[in-house]
């Protein structure tokens, strides 16, 4: 059965994932928009940087974050100067690490759906008196809805499942940074296989449901048509 401590880790995990997803949408949308529209030479570099977490071992990313966000690291110096203290072992630090780690799962679907919208509807909106921001919310957002849904779901699910980064920067603090994947790992390490099975089962069911929604329900939704 799930112990109260396990349930606590589940709740914390969903809290981290929800917050991280909201942040990723907030930051990822302008980034994806820029990537989809720009002809700048920086595009390739930024694309590569965003995609890095897809290929880097999470522990590598986690280790660099630990060093960077630590009191001696560049980011850590800034956060300390801002009076925020250093970020590792804090809930905020975990959310930030999750945002960096799961960002490609939000940016890439968004970028793809922005790209598929093309320039035509934007130009049509411009000739109908809609300014750039107005166009974005009245045309781009509704047309890119599948991209937003996919990005949000993948970003959330990936954050829930993340392990390596949390392990490195979390510090396993109950109610703050002890998320479900770490708890499962600790159960396994402590040879508490039955507890591990319960938690892992929860995670498995969750992940499967999310992917099922993604591949069945969302597929039946109207996808942005190229304008005719």
């Amino acid at each position: 059965m799930l112990t109260p401590a396990d349930i606590e880790t589940l709740l914390l995990t969903f809290k981290v994932a929800s917050l991280a997803t909201a942040l990723m949408l907030l930051l990822g949308t302008p980034l994806a928009w820029w990537l989809a529209r720009t002809r700048s030479g920086w595009k390739g570099i930024i694309n590569a940087v965003v995609a890095l977490p897809l290929v880097l071992p999470p522990t590598v990313l986690g280790f660099y974050l630990l060093v960077l966000m630590g009191p001696a690291g560049a980011v850590g110096k800034i956060t300390t100067w801002l009076g925020l203290g250093s970020l590792p072992f804090t809930f905020a630090g975990l959310v930030i690490a999750s945002v960096l780690y799961s960002m490609p799962f939000v940016v890439q679907p968004l970028q793809a759906s922005f790209t598929s919208i093309g320039a035509q509807p934007l130009e049509a909106a411009a000739t109908l008196r809609a300014g750039p921001l107005d166009t974005f919310f009245s045309i781009v957002v509704p047309l890119a809805k599948p991209g937003f849904m996919t990005g949000a779901i993948l970003g959330f699910a990936h954050t829930v499942g993340e392990f390596g980064v949390v392990l490195m920067v979390g510090g396993n603090i109950p109610d703050k940074t002890r998320v479900v994947s770490v708890q499962i790992y600790n159960h396994v390490e402590a040879l508490e296989y039955s507890e591990a099975h319960w938690l892992a089962g929860c995670l498995l069911v969750f992940s499967f449901s999310v992917l099922l929604v993604l591949y069945t329900v969302l597929k039946t939704q109207p996808v942005a048509h190229p304008l005719k």
Binding site: L66, G85, P88, F89, G171, I173, Y185
Partner: protein
């Protein structure tokens, strides 16, 4: 000298040379037969001394040891699933015992190869005093230790704080590494101001290398016994039992001590 004498001399010489050839042949044959390789699962904290020991082992016996470093808990799960390791050097004494109860080891092969020494360490020079009074004084935000549920060094650290009556006060400052190596990273990068580590992690040639540290007296916690065991899979491999034997040799013990471990009390 008679002809007979000469003849017997030649005969003797002949016999002698034959025996030399035989001896040489036997020796070389046995050398080939004895140069075995054994697969060893080593608790990550003992990686460095073990690498040196396996070098010495090869020189002394001709056998070689292939080392896999990892967490003891993961190794246990892997043995249970039929991993091909023959020797297990655990970071504690519980896991080898558990394996023994499960019938996965060769009976009577379990013994303590090293005793872990606990240290309170900070990357900042002068922060940790020689008596560990900083624990009482405070003035830090994070105290790193290995997850006490998973790592004996973590459990020992808890005991130390309990004995000093500081556990309640310090508990909110805990940041737990999944293992002792990760705990070391927390402290090394300055994310945690200080932490309980294995002395072996911060020692070089018997001295603490940088920062400041306090070697925790052994009477403040129960001994951190690191046990080795011969797994069933290694029962027939002479190199496996030779390695366990070699761990008790003076040469190996010297290496173990050099890396900051205590020696097992001889029975």
């Amino acid at each position: 000298m008679s002809f007979n004498c000469l003849k017997s001399l030649l005969l003797t010489l002949n016999l002698f040379s034959k025996s030399i050839f035989l001896t040489l042949f036997l020796v070389s044959f046995s050398a080939i037969a004895l140069a075995e390789t054994t697969l060893v699962a080593v608790a990550a904290n003992f990686g460095q001394p073990m690498a040196e020991i396996s070098g010495a082992f090869k020189k002394a016996t001709g056998h070689s040891a292939k080392l896999s470093l990892g967490s003891s808990g993961k190794f246990v799960a892997q043995f249970e699933s039929g991993a091909p390791f023959e020797v297990f050097l655990s970071a504690d004494n519980e896991k080898p015992l558990k394996l023994e109860h499960a019938g996965l080891t060769v009976p009577g092969s379990r013994f303590t190869y090293a005793v872990g020494k606990l240290a309170l360490w900070s990357a900042t020079a002068g922060l940790v005093d020689g008596q560990g009074q900083i624990l009482d004084k405070g003035g830090f935000k994070h105290l790193a230790l290995a997850d006490p549920k998973l790592a004996p060094y973590g459990a020992a650290a808890i005991e130390v704080m309990k004995n000093k009556g500081l556990l309640k006060k310090l508990q909110p400052l805990f940041v737990e590494g999944e293992n002792i190596a990760q705990t070391h990273q927390f402290v090394r990068t300055g994310n945690a101001e200080l932490g309980f580590l294995a002395l072996s992690q911060i020692i070089d040639n018997g001295k603490i290398i940088t920062g400041s540290g306090w070697i925790v007296p052994e009477n403040l916690h129960s001994p951190i016994l690191q046990d080795a065991v011969l797994l069933k899979t290694g029962e027939k491999n002479p190199a496996a039992s030779a390695l366990l034997q070699f761990l008790k040799s003076p040469e190996a013990l010297a290496i173990i001590e050099k890396y900051g471990y205590g020696l097992p009390k001889s029975k």
